[in-house]
Structure formats: C-alpha cells, structure tokens
Symmetry: C2
Subunit: 435 residues, 2 copies
C-alpha cells in the first residue's frame, strides 16, 4: 500500500474534522483507491493551544517553510481562511509542485485571478470543493458531471445562516432579531454575522460558481448584492398571502446573451422545490441545455460536511499525482473584457414585491399607482389593510408585472417623496421559473 503524505494549514473546526475523518476512514479509502493518505504536518499558530483533539506535538509546526520544503509532502490543505497569508502559502505550494486543496471561497473569489492564472500556466492541482456548499458536490458536478452541457443558470440557497433565520421567521413567526439570536445560540451564525447577513458570503460563492459555469473568472465585485437585514416578518407574511416564500437566492444566469450574477432576497412560488430547502440547509439548482434542472441539497457548512469535501479533493489529488500529474484540470481564465457581457442590475427585468408605509388617507393608493403607471410599471395584485385608522402609517403591499429595474428605482424615489408615504419602501424581486 502506497502512502501519500499531506499537510494541513490550520487546525480549527475544519482541520480537526479532516483529521478525525482520516483517523476513522483512511483504511477504507486506502482499500478502495490503493493509496493511504497520511497527515504528516499541521501548521498552527500556537503549539500549546488546547484542542478538542489530542495530537502528538511532533505533528505540529508554526513554520510554514518546514512544510514547503518537505518533499515527502505532496498535498497541502489550506484550511485557515482569510486572504493573508493563505494566498502566499497556496501560491508557494503550487510553485513547489504540490497539489493544493482549499476551502477558502473569499480568497478564490477576490484573488482567484492570480491563482487560476498560475494554475493554467504550469500544470498543477487545486481542489476547492469545500469552498462552496460544504459537503454538497456542487463544484465537481459543474466541472465534471455537467461538462457536456452549456449551463443556462445556477440558482442557489448558498448560505446556511440566512436560510436558518428566514426559516425561523417564516415558520415560527419570529422577528429578525430573535431569529438571529437563535441562530447564534445554535452555532449557525457567528458573533459578527454581517458577512452572512449582507449577502457577501453568498456573493463570494456565486462568483466562483459562475466562473466555473461560464468558463472565465468572474470576480466578486461584479456581483450585485443585497442582504436580508431589512427583511421584516411582516413581509414574509404578505409574501405567503400571495403564495410565495422568501429566500436569499444567489443566481448566475445567461439571459438573451448576457450574464446576470446577483444575490438578493427573492419571492419563490410555494410549490417550487427551492422552498423545501429549510433551516441551515443549502441547495443548488443548475440548469443545463441537455441535463435540464439538477438540484443538489445538503449541509453547506460545518466541520464534518466540509471535511467530507476536503477528503474527496484529497483523493482526486492522489489520482492526479498517481497519473504523473497528467490531469485535465483547466481553471477559469480571467477575461476583463467579458465584463461587457454582464447585464447590470438596472437593466435586469423582474416582477416585484413592494411594501409602502402610507398614511391611511383617501387617494393614497391612487397617488402611488399613478406614479408607477407613469413609469410603465403595471400592478398585478395589491393588498391594503386599513387598520389603526388615523393612527399613523399602514402597509400597502403589491406585486407587479415584469418591469425593468431602472424604472422601478426611479418610481420608488418619486413615491418616497410623497408626504403620505413614510420611510423606505421594501422592494423584493420575484423568482421566475424561466430566466
């Protein structure tokens, strides 16, 4: 049985889970593949830190060069996160001819240009299944299983924190603050949850998936992003009345020759399978010209699911090494000029959900609908509930027919200037079954 030595950079939740997985299942992997993966070194910041897993101190090091210069180490798994020094370690390891595995979506999405270019220049292996969707094999599915397809679109619920919060609000009539606290108690939200709530984590992920689906590097800052911080329980309830469920969707799609890549809360028809994606689960709906629609669903985060993905990359890296580094691992190329092919959000077409807070006075609805009409925005349904007569603002909620975003933005600004309308309008977009 041939041994393959690897190193872990970082020994937090994911690093320890990879260690546990290999302790438990490496013999099975060896039996199936013929190669036995062995962890030789682990890079840590603090040798003396107490860890859940007790490990011989001889395995630990604080010096990355000890790993880099060790020719017996063929595979380096970067599980530290953050941009620096992760980028430096990955580039140096690739340069040294080591296979690299990373779970670092932020790094690949923000700095992938340099890394992918290096990979395309000289042969090398970079596995990043764990960077998106935890244990869900979305990267392999796009790159390998759907390679025969022209991909039309990817629609994902790609962030467990926000999906957990929205599910609790929706199903248990909780307000946002309470649902967030619950998510934090359960360990589904960080102490500082802003990367998740603002949609930034989702944007990192969809930019990477878009790069794979469309075969050129789509940097993070091309993605239009809105988070869920402004979503109120009231809006989820109105959406329900209209037959919709609100989810934070990340979407990359080709519509009439142009690409749209964006993240925002979205109303999904309640019969659609994406509404069955509950709690901290993630899902990816991928549409290809031959395969039709494929949905992948599972736990998108957590040490154990992420370790499952890291180890599938370890086995692929072993195959790559065993084949004499002859794999066909082509990576998305950066093409700055492709930005022209992007459709900016203002040019996108949606159906919309609006909630206005208006004084309960005669003529309000006519004023609002008048402005919408002048901008060519046609109303499909409307609900106005006149409670608290004379006691301040009441909600006017409507769904529109298809409209260009640009028109909506101008109309809403005008409406917000009306004296009878108070505060900011809640504006959400609807998911359409077809592009």
């Amino acid at each position: 049985m041939q041994k393959i030595n690897l190193a872990l950079l970082g020994f937090g939740v994911v690093g320890q889970a990879v260690y546990e997985l290999l302790s438990k299942n490496a013999t099975r992997i060896a039996k199936i593949t013929g190669f036995h993966p062995v962890i030789k070194k682990i890079l840590v910041r603090d040798l003396k830190k107490k860890r859940k897993i007790s490990i011989d101190k001889g395995f630990l090091t604080t010096d990355f060069n000890e790993i880099l210069s060790d020719e017996e180490i063929k595979i380096v798994c970067e599980l530290m996160g953050g941009l620096e020094p992760s980028e430096e370690y990955i580039l140096k390891s690739l340069h040294q001819g080591k296979a690299v595995i990373t779970a670092n979506k932020a790094l690949l999405s923000e700095r992938g240009e340099k890394i992918f270019t290096k990979l395309n220049q000289r042969r090398g292996y970079l596995g990043f299944e764990a960077s998106v969707g935890g244990g869900i094999p979305v990267i392999k599915t796009i790159r390998e299983s759907l390679i025969g397809n022209k991909i039309h679109r990817i629609v994902g619920i790609v962030n467990g924190t926000t999906n957990y919060i929205l599910t609790q609000m929706q199903e248990r009539k909780m307000d946002f603050a309470k649902a967030l606290r619950l998510a934090q108690e359960k360990g589904y939200a960080e102490a500082d949850p802003s990367l998740d709530l603002k949609g930034i984590d989702s944007a990192h992920k969809i930019s990477l998936l878009a790069s794979l689906a469309f075969n050129f590097f789509v940097p993070y800052d091309w993605v239009y992003v809105e988070g869920i911080e402004k979503i109120q329980l009231e809006d989820l309830e109105f959406a329900n009345q209209f037959g919709y469920v609100v989810k934070l969707l990340a979407m990359a799609q080709r519509v009439k020759g142009k690409l749209e890549v964006r993240v925002h809360p979205t109303l999904i028809p309640e019969k659609h399978i994406l509404t069955s994606v509950r709690l901290n689960y993630n899902a990816f709906l991928i549409e290809g010209d031959f395969v039709g629609n494929i949905l992948l669903h599972g736990l998108g985060a957590g040490g154990y699911p992420t370790a499952s993905a890291v180890v599938s990359d370890i086995v692929d890296a072993i195959k790559y090494i065993a084949s004499g580094q002859n794999g066909l691992t082509i990576y998305p190329l950066y093409e700055k000029e492709r930005k022209k092919e992007f459709r900016p959000i203002e040019e996108c077409i949606f159906r919309y959900y609006f909630r206005f807070q208006a004084l309960d006075k005669p003529g309000v609805l006519s004023k609002i609908s008048g402005i919408l009409g002048r901008h060519g925005i046609s109303i499909a349904s409307v609900v106005q509930i006149g409670r608290h007569r004379g006691k301040g603002a009441v909600p006017i909620v409507m769904l529109t027919h298809e409209t260009k975003e640009k028109a909506v933005r101008v109309a809403l600004k005008e409406i917000e200037k009306l004296e009878v309308v108070q505060g900011e309008t809640v504006m959400l977009r609807l998911f359409e079954e077809k592009g």
Copy 2:
C-alpha cells in the same frame, strides 16, 4: 488539439442524443479539456432505418468487429440495452483495452459480477453514470464526492414512470389506470410498463447503488421488491389524512450491522423533502457519517439527460486514457458470503399502514385488533368510516407502531381468514427519518 475517436453501439433515443450533444457542444468540451471527442462509428441493426437525425451512411455499420478491431477507436459507448449481445460487446471491448461506457443498468445489476471482476483483474475503464438516474450525477457522487464517508443509507425515488403515476393520482385524484394511460400518452411509460410498475427497474438501480456504497457487488436477486400495481387512489387519500405522501422508494441501508436493500411503496411524512419530488423527477438521498444527508434531484430518464451523463463519462474516459490508463478505478467485488450480512425482509422492522375491507358489522374492529394484539402489533391510529351500511364492505384503515415484518405477515393471514373481512389487505410501510 488532440482528437479522441469513439464508437456508439446503438443509435436509438440515447445514442442520437449523444450524437446531438457532441455536434452542439464538442468544441466547448475540447476548449475546456484539450481533447476533442469524435464519433467514428455507430453500430446499428438496420442501415436503412429512418432516423430523426440524418447522418452520413459511412458512419454506420452492422458489424461490431469493425469497431472492435479499429485501434483508433479508444472509447466504446454501449447504448443498446438488453443483456445480449451487450455483455459480449462490453467484455470484448474491455479485453481489447478500450474504455467502455454503458447506460445498461439491467446488465450491470444482473451480470455485473463477470464484468466487474474482469475490470479488477486487468486495468480498464467502465463508466456507467447513465445507468442510474439519467443526468443526475449519483454514481460520481457516491464513488468520488463521498469517498471519505462510510455510507449509512441511500434512499431513492429512482423510477420516473411510477413517480409520475403516483403524483397524478395524488394531486389530481386520478385512478391508477387513468394515470398510467396519461403516463403512456406523455411518453413517460412504455407500452409494456411492467418492469417499471413492478419495481424491477428500481431494484436494478438500487442494487447497483448498494454495490457502490457498500463496496461489494450486490446482485439484483438480493433485493426485496414490491411494485405499485396494487396501490389505489383510496390508499393515497387515507395516507394524506394521516399526514403522509406515498412514493415508490428504493432503499439500501445498514441497520445495526446488517444490510437491507429493498423497493416498495412507502408512506413519507409530508414535510420530508422527498415528498417534493414530483412527476417524472428522480431523487437520491444519501447519508454518510461525515457529510450528513445529501439529496440529488433531477430528470432520471430521457435521451438528453442520459446523454449528459454519457458525455461526462466520455470526458472521464479521456482523462483515464490521457493519464496513461493510470486511473484509480476500483469496482465493487463480488462476495457471495456477504449475503449473510443481509437482513431478510421478514426480519426488518417498520411502522405499517393497513387497509382492511370489512363488513360493517358490530365487533369487526375488535376482532381485527384482537389478532393484531396477539401478535404484538400495536395500533397507533385508526379510521373506520361506516358508509353504505348493510351494503357490503367498508374500509378500516390503521397505522401501527414499530413491528417486525414476520409478525405482520402471520397476523394479516389470520385476519384475512375472518369471515367479516373481504379480499386482500393493503399493507404499506412507513419511512422513518432514522434507519
């Protein structure tokens, strides 16, 4: 750009879809992989047959040996179906050192022993993604993405015909015969649909998936099978009343050290994601010790989705060839003695749904529940509706607590001997969230 020549055996729905896919997308594949797949020969039975696709007659042949002896043909795609001559052609192609791809689940499930043994003896590539789940990448997910996991169970809705029929019955209150006719009109059911309705197609698929998940060859005849032919609309409606949806489930699982592999109609709690699998869609729920639960959902049949899977195998075969045939493609080994590790259906434990047809007379329920009680079967819920008083049989429907199948079979025989009970009892099993 390097060309790779391939041959298709069979040019029916799937063969023509593979041809179409490569005509449309081969340049894209070549750009990504560096290799251009080219169809050099197609084996057909009748050179003159009219086909949807017009093709130069020079590509067609009726002589398999012309393909076998052509050293330029590196990949053979068997898309004919049936046991003979498919088996012969696959074995000969492998022997000749060609990579082989097949969509033939029946062959692999019934005769896989010989084929997998041959593959393990001498290196070779056999791709069979298209044999289960159409375009859904379930084979690659089990073999590659979940390789780090010990798999606890696979639960699948793996047959589109039966799922379409059950969905129509359930959602549109159609009887079985009408739903079957509709499925035939839509092309979702064959003229002779018995392989699907009896659960045999599902059994072929789950036996193959079980082989991959448990790493030894599980032949078709180890699978316990019940179809949907006896399901009546009435049963779907009663199941609904109890909060369940009926699906034909294929299941392979490890429970307390023993394996259970079976196919039967099953009551699934209506909140479970498997109940969102509608119409002709398929889904696979795979549970691993690290990844948790992964669900894959999509079109499980049809020319285009199947072609998508065949082409993903073609690209993997190209990688295998490009790497100097150094892939790590280990196949399930046949181990006859593992049959001892199987739990026969009589020893399995379920909750049950029963529908008795009983005369509407005093004491009937007490007689039935008396017999159940004597066999240790405890009733959880019961519905008895006394319509048509004095006019023949009425249904008595119940759900039980957990019971061993053996006890149920004996009890039902005894109940069916009661004079007040008419005809055969409908007995369905419930799906439990945990094995």
